[in-house]
């Protein structure tokens, strides 16, 4: 019964969020909130997608930038070759990201812990090198892209991208929420705690890991795809920038990985701080501030923001710890 009520609240919240975003694009004339908001939404999608594998399954993926870059360049290649519309670009990026995720999932057969993380970094470097030598998408020199005309009801492309990214956030969050509450989530949790024990008790670990990798990969690549149109420019060093990996990981950890709301809170907090610092302090200091925030959270709140909120929430809900 509560589960059902929770669902209603969640979907109502998602609908309100999307309506708010849509009406914001219609009312607000100043474009800056959309530029900055797009980046924050993008990080929410990335952090939520990352935590499906990194949080639920405990496989720390350092290759977020690989998936992100693959998303960007799938969109670029498709747009250049066929002039495909944004929706197709995103869908294609999701498919390619899913395939790549399958490959990464197979890696987990042989590698765990730190070795898996290192392998994902290597993956990012390999793909970046490949793109650097792929002249069709500009190679190392990068490529400038001309946006097609914007579609109604939006009056600027950035507003449209802002809405599209909001939609991707809702999709990512609802998938993360579904996984968390389903057999898959429980299975992933079991394998995170002890993979061998989970395997022995009949949890299909390989299948679950593959599913987690594929979904996480597809979502990250999909979130990356609109970046090509947002920047109207793509170059390998920006698209495969390690900061995407670090940010996604930091946001998920700061928010907490046990619940889908964790990465969302982390991304909102860290993403908006980043945007704010970029236009206020704006020097080496902003990198320092983010570093200090991370250290404080790791020391003071090892389970993230939700770790701080949870005990109180549980007491209120039923008095059980």
């Amino acid at each position: 019964m509560t589960k059902h009520r929770n669902s209603i609240v969640f979907w109502a919240g998602a609908a309100v969020f999307l309506i708010a975003v849509l009406s914001m694009t219609q009312i607000v004339r100043n474009e800056y909130p959309f530029f900055a908001g797009y980046v924050i939404l993008q990080f929410i999608a990335l952090a939520v997608a990352w935590s499906i594998l990194g949080g639920y399954a405990g496989y720390v993926n350092f290759g977020t930038n690989a998936f992100f870059g693959v998303g960007v360049y799938t969109a670029v290649a498709l747009f250049k070759a066929t002039g495909a519309p944004l929706v197709v670009q995103i869908a294609a990026a999701a498919v390619v990201g899913m395939t790549l995720g399958f490959g990464v999932g197979l890696l987990t057969l042989r590698m765990r812990g730190i070795f898996f993380s290192i392998a994902t970094i290597a993956l990012a470097i390999i793909i970046e090198t490949f793109v650097m030598n792929w002249r069709f998408v500009g190679g190392a020199a990068g490529i400038q892209i001309q946006r097609p005309p914007v579609m109604a009801p939006f009056d600027s492309y950035v507003k449209m991208l802002f809405f599209v990214q909001a939609l991707l956030v809702v999709i990512a969050v609802s998938i993360a929420r579904y996984i968390q509450n389903s057999r898959i989530g429980r299975g992933l949790q079991a394998l995170r705690d002890d993979e061998l024990a989970a395997e022995c008790t009949g949890v299909p670990t390989l299948k679950l890991k593959l599913v987690a990798c594929m979904i996480s990969g597809a979502l990250i690549s999909a979130a990356g795809a609109p970046a090509a149109m947002y920047l109207q420019y793509a170059d390998p060093s920006s698209a495969f920038n390690l900061s995407y990996s670090v940010s996604a990981l930091a946001m998920a950890l700061i928010g907490g990985t046990a619940h889908w709301i964790g990465p969302v809170l982390g991304a909102i907090l860290l993403g908006s701080t980043q945007q704010l610092l970029a236009v206020t302090i704006s020097s080496e200091v902003n990198v320092l501030v983010l570093g200090i925030m991370l250290v404080l959270f790791v020391v003071g709140a090892p389970k993230g923001i939700i770790g701080l909120l949870r005990p109180r929430y549980r007491l209120r809900a039923g008095g059980k710890p």
Binding site: T129, A141, S283
Partner: protein, 414 residues
Amino acid sequence: MKRRTFLGGAMAVAVLGQGSSALAQQPPIKIGMSMPQTGGLAGGGKASLLGIEIWRDDINAKGGLLGRKVELVVYDDKSSASETPAIYAKLVDVDKVDLLFAPYATVPTAPIMPFVKQRGLLLMGNFSFQVNSKVGHDMWFNNAPWGPADSWAASFLDLAQKAGGKNMALLTADQEFAQNLALTARDVAKKRNLPVVFDQVYPPNTVEFSSIIRALKAAKPDIVYVASYPPDSAGILRAVNEIGIGDDVKIFGGGMVGLQFAAVMSNLGSLLNGVVNYNTWLPEKSMYFDGTKEFFDKYTKRAVEAKVDPLGYYLAPFGYAMGQMIEAAVNSTKSLDQKGIAKYLRENEHKTIVGPIAFSADGERKETATLQAQFRGVKDKDIEQFRSPGKQVILFPEKLKTGDLISPFEAARK
């Protein structure tokens, strides 16, 4: 005693405040930009910003623009393309700046080109390479001396062919700027029927070049065109020093990034001798224009405090020149109307501390003023030597020439 000091200070402030009250009456003219202050481009970005700040201080000391103080609004773009769209939207929509300068280098600039075109805004370019060629914005003016896209390779190959070069080897880093140079070099070579006997692209993080230099030497080229980045420029020159490059090579260099910066130059020292490389400004006789010396006097003092390149030849004077062009345009048109300023910039030649600047329709220089200069008589571990003329003799352009090419390369290295 303390109180008296305080009172004295307060009075001084009050007096000074009155003096500048004419400036303070009107809101300042805001010039907005992002600048790489962290990340890979930060070294250049900070030096460029210092050049612009010196211009701001000079113009404010003269009474500002149109009687209004000039204020810079600067944000850090972390050397990344993904940061600049939001920053420029903030500058235009929230900070409501009057004029825009571009960040240093191509990558952070590329994403804002469509934005300024769509909004019809003037953008003063800052050392990016051919970012407007596909966008075609008619209110873009690049301060860099590059000129037409192929002139870079053409000037180097001119020198090479005059010295008797008949074939070329290309060694280029797999990065944005180097690849752009390589592309034009291949084009120019093709047009001149100059065979390319060696064409090697190496990954950006390469440190060990001995095998590449051996292979290059085996191809026996006359001309060696190198487009590299700071760490690899050093690696390449070290390998050349160890292995040698063969007596056939008439000329070596062309597009090596890094050999313009004091730290790299003093680190490499005598290994630089003989290399012919691009540059933008050098302390040679022909390079001093109205105000150039005064600018470098100020720069040299402030560079220590700002912890930027102590020489600052490469970027800083062009940052200042960017301000000078705006100053001339605003004073002549007597307004901040961006269309009017753009029209003025397009139609006139501008006197700056880096020489006269005229623009072609694409907003790049009409004629290239990119120098090709040869290192001569450089000693080890001495930054100060680069302040005196004769260490980098200008071979191109003809107007600014201060010497002739010494060839072959092995002879010039001695």
